[in-house]
């Protein structure tokens, strides 16, 4: 794990009309760590992620990625930088098979727009094996026939296939059963082990305490705490989510546990 953040956001502000969704928010993710982003409904988690993805422009604030100051104007630009977002509602095509979904929009082809299936299939199998996603029977079956956990695995593996540096997961376990949740969390940990930066948005503190390296808490569009997972209890995090005071620290802080209590 490196100490210089892979993704660094500073002073992000975003308003929708008179509603201030984000006020002077800082956020960072290092390579090889799972940074959890938590907060109650309306805390600004999704807005922050959409700013990173280039879906919403920021009103103010700056973003650095891999040490470079960047401006992300569209989801395509985010993908180009190596930022991959796995959305809550998956964004897979049910009628297409696993390989086709993994390569959707970025198919391997020759100069005449003719698909090159064998390399795509081989690379898909390799990627799934490297992530130890072994429960999928055939990678040529339509994803409609997969379970929720398997579908989520495909969506996550797609990010890995494209050599992304940062993977943002929006509530990846929200719709899953216990066993499938475990399967996906295992996959999330493996992403970090492979050296990727992972941002995990979740409501589920149990999931977060199982996977996260650090935890960023947002409350009412402001930073309400940044914790090392090993040095904090669930009660403290819950307290920050529900009643945390704004903790605007100059510069990106290390651990500011005391500031929230």
């Amino acid at each position: 794990m490196t100490d210089t953040p892979l993704l660094e956001l500073r002073g992000v502000t975003k308003s929708f009309g008179s509603v201030q969704a984000l006020a002077d928010v800082d956020f960072e993710v290092r390579s090889g760590e799972v940074m959890a982003l938590v907060g109650d409904n309306g805390a600004g988690k999704s807005t922050l992620i959409k700013c990173v993805a280039g879906i919403y422009p920021m009103d103010a604030g700056e973003m650095t990625f891999g040490g470079q100051r960047v401006h992300v104007g569209s989801p395509k630009e985010a993908a180009k930088l190596g930022i991959e977002i796995v959305y809550q509602d998956l964004a897979l095509c049910d009628n297409l098979d696993v390989v086709q979904n993994m390569y959707l929009g970025r198919e391997a082809r020759n100069p005449f727009f003719v698909l090159r299936e064998p390399p795509m299939e081989a690379k898909t199998r390799e990627t799934l094996q490297s992530l130890r996603v072994t429960t999928i029977g055939s990678i040529r079956q339509p994803v409609a026939t997969l379970s929720g956990g398997q579908r989520q695995s495909v969506a996550v593996a797609r990010a890995v296939l494209w050599n992304s540096k940062l993977v943002i997961l929006d509530e990846p376990t929200a719709a899953l059963g216990v066993a499938q949740t475990e399967q996906v969390l295992e996959l999330v940990r493996r992403l970090a082990e492979q050296g990727l930066g992972v941002a995990l948005i979740s409501h589920n503190l149990h999931d977060i305490f199982e996977t996260a390296t650090r935890i960023t808490v947002l409350r009412l569009g402001r930073n309400a705490g940044l914790f090392e997972r090993a040095a904090v209890t669930q009660e403290e995090v819950v307290h920050a989510i529900t009643a945390g005071k704004p903790t605007k620290v100059s510069g990106i802080p290390g651990t500011v546990k005391e500031a929230t209590l």
Binding site: N95, V114, Q141
Partner: protein, 405 residues
């Protein structure tokens, strides 16, 4: 499959029981054209024994030339259905193409060479498709309404564009439906189609093996490689018999278009994106696919194929009149695509569905006509078959959702 990875290179042929595959296909809602091929076989056998003169080379050729125009239009409809839209204007767009071709060839007026007439008709039809597609994709008006309006508009254009009846006097244009290839040419065509098919199939399998991917269904691969050339040669053999007198150009257009559009749909990025847009347009958009562009192109294809079909239909009658594109043409072409197994819900179907669907519809119509049934009865039977086909698709879709949980 997942365990195959490293060992696949040595494990050349992985046998998967055929029955298991079929059950899996049915469970996943992937019936394809299987039911309609079975239905077609039953219909052909039944009429062969009960309808006089049905089982003859002349009638075989007659069915093929009758279905050629509608089948070409239905290929375009399959693309539209694949992206989950509908095009109700195809029949009258084909009529407009007929009017264009007829007007431009008039020896007493424009008197243009046949190929200019044909290209102009195709261009006009494609432009109509692109125009309607743009309204659908860029403005967001539902395709049902846009093409319903088009249905009226192009019907009106046909009325305004015709003095009554125009006889097509260009032999080259009339050849689009009526030309018969010589015996030798027929055999050559069968050979070319067979060789092309076999080479493509084997090349696909071999390049898969090269990348360590086992041949998934060797039994199916082998039977396809035997069956398709067999069908090609038997078809040519029947059409070369006395009474028919050769392979009609209409058949060549149907088979040629089938090969080209199947290649586009299954082997190109465009085709993949068509399926993606039909499966989940939002996912396609997030994956960076230009959804509007795909939609416009698909409606342009539907327009162009309507144009080609319209030329063939005009050539079959050797004239264009005020009924061009009317009657049951629209119902027939959409039914052909749907009966053939293309889902109305988008994302599932094949170009060949249109061919088998059209074959079923026009074989039934031919057989019942020969047996002397009234038009009303023929309509009722066609309607019942359409209903069965869509019901089957809906049920298989529900099964698919269930097997996904």
């Amino acid at each position: 499959m997942s365990a195959a990875g490293a060992t696949a290179q040595t494990e050349v042929v992985k046998l998967e029981p055929l029955s298991q595959r079929i059950t899996a296909n049915i469970r996943s809602g992937n019936l394809g054209s299987a039911p309609v091929v079975v239905a077609l076989a039953i219909v052909v056998v039944t009429f062969a024994f009960t309808a006089q003169n049905f089982w003859s080379p002349a009638n075989f050729q007659n069915i093929i030339t009758t279905m050629a125009g509608p089948c070409l239009i239905a290929y375009g409809v399959v693309f539209v259905l694949l992206i989950g839209e509908i095009d109700l204007s195809v029949a009258f767009v084909s009529g407009v193409a007929g009017v264009v071709v007829a007007q431009l060839q008039r020896p007493d007026a424009a008197n243009l060479p046949w190929w200019i007439c044909v290209l102009a008709a195709l261009a006009v039809a494609a432009a109509i498709g692109a125009f309607q597609g743009s309204i659908i994709a860029l403005v967001g008006v539902p395709s049902f309404v846009v093409t319903l309006a088009g249905n009226y508009i192009w019907n009106g254009v046909i009325f305004k564009g015709l003095p009554g009846v125009i006889t097509i006097q260009s032999n080259q244009i009339n050849n689009f439906s009526n030309y018969l290839f010589g015996t030798t040419a027929g055999w050559i065509m069968a050979a070319v189609v067979s060789v092309l098919y076999v080479v493509l199939m084997l090349w696909g399998a071999l390049s898969g093996l090269h990348h360590g991917i086992a041949v998934r269904e060797p039994i199916i691969l082998v039977s396809k490689v035997i069956l398709v050339p067999a069908i090609a040669f038997v078809t040519v053999w029947i059409l070369n018999k006395p009474g028919s007198g050769g392979v009609p150009l209409g058949l060549l257009l149907m088979v040629g278009s089938l090969l080209i559009w199947t290649f586009v749909a299954k082997r190109t990025t465009f085709g993949r994106h068509v399926y993606a847009v039909g499966g989940n347009a939002e996912a396609a958009r997030r994956a960076g696919i230009n959804v509007a562009r795909i939609r416009i192109l698909v409606f342009t294809i539907a327009g162009a194929m309507s144009g080609l079909g319209g030329i063939v239909l005009a050539a079959r009658l050797q004239s264009v009149d005020l009924n061009a594109g009317g009657g049951t043409l629209l119902l027939d072409v959409i039914s052909a695509a749907v009966i053939g197994g293309t889902s109305l819900f988008g994302g599932r179907g094949e170009v060949r569905n249109a061919l088998v669907g059209a074959a079923l519809i026009y074989t039934i119509q031919s057989g019942m006509f020969i047996k002397g049934y009234a038009t009303g009865v023929i309509f009722i039977v066609t309607g019942v078959i359409l209903l069965l086909a869509v019901t089957l698709d809906t049920i298989s879709r529900r099964l698919q959702v269930r097997s996904g949980r």
